[in-house]
Symmetry: D2
Subunit: 349 residues, 4 copies
C-alpha cells in the first residue's frame, strides 16, 4: 500500500489507452497535429473562454516559464515559504527568469494574509531602484500542505495583485484536487478571481507527463511561444502530450479521478481520526494528510510494506508533540482503494 506521493501512481487506464490508440499514426510535429488543436479547444471549453495553452514536461518548467513571462528587471515574486517554487525546484524560477527573487510570505496552512503580503511588499517601494520591484504573486492551489485557498481568499489576492501591479500566478500542480474540494469551476477558481497565468498540472492526477501553462492575460501570451521553444519545452511528438490532455478532459475523466482521490483522502482522514494510535497534525481538504505517529508504530508499518514519507516540521507548528511522535505525510491518488487503506491502518497496530 503506497501513500508516498501521487506522482508514484503511474497513469490512469484511460490515459494509457489513449497513448496506445494513437501510437501508430503519423501526426504533425511541434504542436501542429489535430490532437494538439483538439487539446487547445478543450482547454478553452474547460475554462469557458479563450486561453493560450503551452504544454511542458514538468511542473518546474510550467512554473518557471509562467513566472519568466511575468519578469521585470530586479523583479520580486511573492510566495509562501512552503511553496514548490521556493523549496523544490533548485532555483529554476531564478534561473529561467534571469535572476528574479522569491520573497517568502509566511502563514499557517500554506497560505498568507493580505496584511503580511503588504508588509513584504513594503520592502520594495515603487520606483526605488536600489531594492528592486514587485513583479508577481504566486499561490499554490492546492497548497503543499494539503489545504486549499477558498474562492474568497483567491479573490482577495487577485485584488491585491491588481492594486499593486503584480501579475497573479497560480501553481496548480494539484489543480483538480483543489477544484473538487471547493466544488468550483475552473473559471471560478482562476481568471474570474484575477489569476493571470496558471501552471496546470495533470501528471499527479493520472497522466504521466502532462503539464501546461494556461494564460488568461494576453499581455503574458504575446511572447510565450518563443519563451516556450527557447526553454526546450516544445516537444517534437507533441501529439502524445496532447493525447493525454484530451483523454484527461473528455467525459470528465479528470474530475472523476480527482473525486476518487479526494474521497479516498476523506476516508483515510476518518479512519485516522478513529484509530487511536495516531492523530491528524492539521486539517487538510485535498489528498495530502499529515499525521503525528509514534515512531515505533511508523516503523512497524513500514516494515509491513507501507510506503509513506517522513516530513519536516513546519516552522511554526500549530500542534505540540508528545515524546516519540513524529510527523508523516500520506498522499492518496487515483490508484488508491479502500483495501489499501484498510491494510495501511492495520499495519500500525
Amino acid at each position: 500500500m503506497n501513500f508516498s506521493s501521487d506522482n508514484w501512481a503511474g497513469a490512469s487506464d484511460v490515459v494509457a489507452a489513449k497513448l496506445t490508440e494513437i501510437h501508430a499514426s503519423y501526426s504533425a510535429s511541434y504542436g501542429e497535429s489535430a490532437l494538439d488543436d483538439r487539446m487547445r479547444a478543450l482547454f478553452c471549453e474547460v475554462f469557458e473562454r479563450e486561453v493560450s495553452v503551452f504544454t511542458v514536461g514538468t511542473g518546474t518548467a510550467a512554473n518557471s516559464l509562467a513566472l519568466t513571462a511575468c519578469a521585470r528587471p530586479g523583479g520580486v515574486i511573492f510566495c509562501h515559504p512552503e511553496s514548490h517554487i521556493f523549496n523544490d525546484e533548485c532555483g529554476a524560477v531564478e534561473y529561467f527568469s534571469g535572476g528574479a527573487r522569491l520573497c517568502t510570505v509566511a502563514g499557517p496552512g500554506g497560505k498568507f494574509s493580505a496584511v503580511d503580503l503588504v508588509a513584504a511588499m513594503d520592502r520594495y517601494p515603487k520606483q526605488f531602484v536600489h531594492a528592486g520591484q514587485p513583479t508577481a504573486l504566486s499561490l499554490t492551489q492546492a497548497t503543499e500542505v494539503g489545504t486549499a485557498w477558498s474562492l474568497a481568499e483567491i479573490a482577495g489576492m487577485g485584488e491585491m495583485a491588481r492594486a499593486n501591479d503584480l501579475y497573479f500566478h497560480m501553481d496548480g500542480a494539484r489543480f483538480a484536487n483543489a477544484l473538487v474540494a471547493l466544488d468550483a469551476t475552473p473559471a471560478e477558481m482562476t481568471w474570474r478571481r484575477g489569476v493571470d497565468i496558471l501552471s496546470f498540472g495533470a501528471t499527479k492526477n493520472g497522466c504521466w507527463c502532462a503539464e501546461a501553462v494556461v494564460i488568461f492575460n494576453p499581455a503574458l501570451a504575446a511572447q510565450f511561444a518563443f519563451l516556450h521553444k527557447r526553454a526546450g519545452q516544445l516537444f517534437s511528438k507533441s501529439t502524445f502530450q496532447a493525447a493525454q490532455f484530451v483523454a484527461y478532459f473528455e467525459a470528465e475523466h479528470w474530475l472523476n479521478l480527482a473525486r476518487h482521490t479526494n474521497a479516498m483522502a476523506d476516508c483515510l482522514r476518518e479512519r485516522i481520526a478513529l484509530a487511536g494510535n495516531m492523530r491528524i497534525a492539521w486539517p487538510t481538504q485535498t489528498n495530502e494528510i499529515f499525521v503525528l505517529i509514534d515512531k515505533s508504530a511508523a516503523e512497524r508499518s513500514a516494515a509491513a510494506g507501507a510506503v509513506f514519507s517522513d516530513w519536516p516540521e513546519p516552522i511554526n507548528p500549530l500542534y505540540s508533540k508528545h515524546d516519540n511522535e513524529y510527523l508523516y505525510r500520506f498522499v492518496t491518488s487515483f490508484r488508491t482503494d479502500k483495501n489499501q487503506i484498510d491494510v495501511l491502518l492495520a499495519s500500525f497496530s
Copy 2:
C-alpha cells in the same frame, strides 16, 4: 505516404507496449525507480563503460544542457551553420548557457574541415579577453543534411578539441541512423574518438519522448544533476522515460529500427535514381534524402497525398538547377514500408 519527418511517425509497437505494461504500477519518482536504474545500466552496457545519463524531454533541452555544462564566460561554441543548435532551437543554447556564442564553421555536406575550424578559432586568441574564448566543438551525427561524419573525421575533430582545450559535444538526434550507416559501435563513434558529452536521441527512432544527455567526461558530470533539475528536466514520473529507453535498447530494438529506416532510405534513393523525373541533390548515407524535382511534379505528388518538405537551398550548393527544379526533403522512418515508397514514386508521374 508520409515522408515529412521521422518525428511524425508515432512510437514503435515495442515502445508503446512497454508504456502500457508499466502504466498501472507504483514507481518511485524523480529518477529513482527500478526502471531508471535498469536504464542507466543499459546505457553503460551500450557504451561499454561507466557513463552518466540524464533523461530530458527534447533534443533542444539535451543540446542546451550539454553545452551549458561546457560553458565558460565569454565562451564560443563552434558548429556548422546548418546545425540544429544554430538554426532550429530559438537561441536555446545561448539562453541556457547564460550567453554562449555559436560561431559557425561552414563546409559541404554538413561538415567542416580542421583547417576551417582553425581559421574560426583564430578570431578568439587564448586569454584575449576582448574577443571571448573558445569553449566547445559541436558536431551533429548524423548531420542535418543526411550525411555522417566518418570515424576518422570524428577522431580528427576529437584531436582538434583536445589540442585546443575545447569540450567535444555530439548532437546525436539521429545517432542510431548514423551508427547503422557506419556499421560502428556506440563507443567507437563517441568517447573512443574523443567525444566528451552526447545528446542521445531516441525520439525520432521509435520513442515518443526519450532524449538523454550521456556524459563521458567526469568533469562535465560533476554539477549536471543540478543543471538538469534546475532546467525543469527532472520528470516526476521518470519511470515512463526510462521504460522507453529500456524497450529501446533491449534485444537491439533500436538498431533494428534504425536498420529498417536506413534500408528504406536506400530503397528510396535507388528508386529516385531510376525514376528519370527527379535527381538526388547530394549523396546521403542516412534517412534524409534531398531531391531536385520539377515543381509541377512535386505539386502533383502532394495533391495525391504525399507528404514531404520544401527545403531551403544550401548556401553553396554543389549542384546547378534546371528551370523549375526545386529542392525537397524526404525522410524515412521506422514506419516506412516499400509500399509507401511505391505509391510515392508513382505520385510524381
Copy 3:
C-alpha cells in the same frame, strides 16, 4: 608620438579641471546631485528633445544595456562583423541580454546594405519559433574602420528597422568624430533618422570615464532605471560622471575636441598620400587611418618611438598588397598635434 588609440590620450584639460573643481564638495549620490540634473538638461538641449539618459562606466556596458532593453526571447541583433559588440566585448551583449544572438551582416567600409540585411533577416521568419526572432539593428557611428554612415544611409536603415519591427541602436563610441565629419547635428544623426537608443561615448574624445545610454523611444526607457542599477552601473558618486559630461558639452568643448582630432586626421591622411613610402588602405572620414607600409619601414618607425597598431586584414580587402606590405592603424586624438605628425612621418624614412 602616439597614434595607438584615442583611449590612450588621457583627459582634456577642461574635463580634468572640472573634476578638480568639484572634488571637495558634498553632493547627493546615485544620480541625484545638481550636476546630474544639469547633465540631463544638457543632453536634452544637445539632442533638441526630451531624452532619457543613464551614465555608465564603459562602452561595453552602454551597448549591452541598450541592447538588453531591446531584448525579446530568441532575439537576434543584426550588426556588422567588424562591430565592437561582435568582436571586442567578450560576449557582453549575449550575457547581459540573457542570450541574444548577434547575426552579422557583412559589407565594405564597416557598413552593410539593405539588401544584405534583408537576406540575413530572411533566416528568421516572423513568428517561426524554431529560428528565433529579429529584435534589433545595431550600427556603429563612426564605424570601426574609420568611415561614417551618411545621413541618408542612416535614414534608410531607420526605415528598414521600422518596417521590420526592429529596434534601432547606434553604437556612438566615436559619435562626435562622426558628427563633425558629417557636419550634422546630434538630432539629425539619430532620432530624426529613426534611432531608438544610442550608446553615447565621450571617453575617447576627452573624458576619462563618461559613457551614456541615450533613449529616444519611451518604450525602451520604461524599465531602464532597473536594468541600469541591476547591472552595477549606478555610480554612488555619479556627480563625477555628470561633471565630465557638463564640461564636455559646455561651450561646444566636445565639438571643438572632435574638430581638432578630425583635422589632425585630415592632416595625417594628406601627409601619408604625399609620403611615397606608404599608402592609404581605404578612405576614411574620421580619426582612424589604415595604412599599408613596408614592414621594415614600420619597424624603423616603432624603433624610433612611434606607437601605432598592427591591424588584421579585412575579410574581403578592396586593395591588393605588395610583398612585405602590412596593414597598420593610426588614430588621432584631441591630444595629437602637427609636430607629432611630422615626427611620425619622418620616422618611416
Copy 4:
C-alpha cells in the same frame, strides 16, 4: 553639516591631485598601463601575498562579480538580511550569477551566529537536487549597521565555510573603517581568516570611483578576467582607476583617511552620549551611528541645514522607543571635522 553618507563627500585632495597629475599623459588602455601594474603591486604589498585584482566601477559590480565567480547551478548564498547585496542592489547578484539565491540569516548587529547559519544550510542538504546547493557565505565588513565582525568571528565563519564547502566572500565597501576599528592588518582580516574573495571599496573612503575585486583563492581567479570584461567592467582608461588606488595606498593615505573618519565618529558618539536630547540606538565601532531622537528635534536640525537620514527600524530592535522617538543615521567621512559636529549638535537644541 552633512552626515548623510560617506558617498556624498567627494574625493580627497590627494586622490584628486593624482588624477590631475596624470590627465595629460598617454597611457596604455584596458589595464595595461604602468600605473595599473603599480596598483597591482600595491595590492600585493597591502595584503602581504600574491593576489589577483580587478577594478570595477561600483560596489554592486564588485559584489556581483565576486559572487558570480563562486556560482554553482542551483546555488545559494548565505548573507545577512541587512546586507547590501540583499537590500540595495536591485537583484544584481541574482542577475549576474544567472539566478543564484540569497538566503538570509538574521542576527543582531548585522551579524549572525554559526548556529543560525547551520540551521539555514540544513534546508539545502548535500546533493539533494530539489532544494539547490549551498555555494557561498558573504559577510559585510564593516556591517551595514556600523558594527564590525571581530577577527575571531571572521575566523569562525571561515571555518564554517571550509567545513561546508562554501566560498567565503567579504563585502568590504567600508573595509578601511573596519580595519582601523579592529586595529588589524588587511591580511589578518581576510585570507588569514579564510576569506576567498573580497569586494574592496575605496570610493566611500576618499576616491570617487575605485572599487576592486581582490581574489585570494586561485580557483576563483582562473576565469575572472573573462567575467570582468564580459560584465562591462574593464575600463578603457583604466589608468585613472589605477591612479586613485595608487594615491590611496601610498603613504598610508587610506588608513589616515579612515582613522580620521572613525575618530570623527568617536567624537560624535561621545557628544551624542552627553547631549541629553538623543540616545545611541545600538553601539557601533565604525563611522555609522544610529540615534533615537525626538521627531521635532530632528526636524529643527534639518531646518537648520543638517543633512542625515531617516532609517528603517531593524526587524528585532534591541531598544524600546519612547513616544515621538524616531531612528536616524549619521555617517562621518574623511571630510567631517569637529566644527561640523559642533554645529550639528547645536542644531537639535
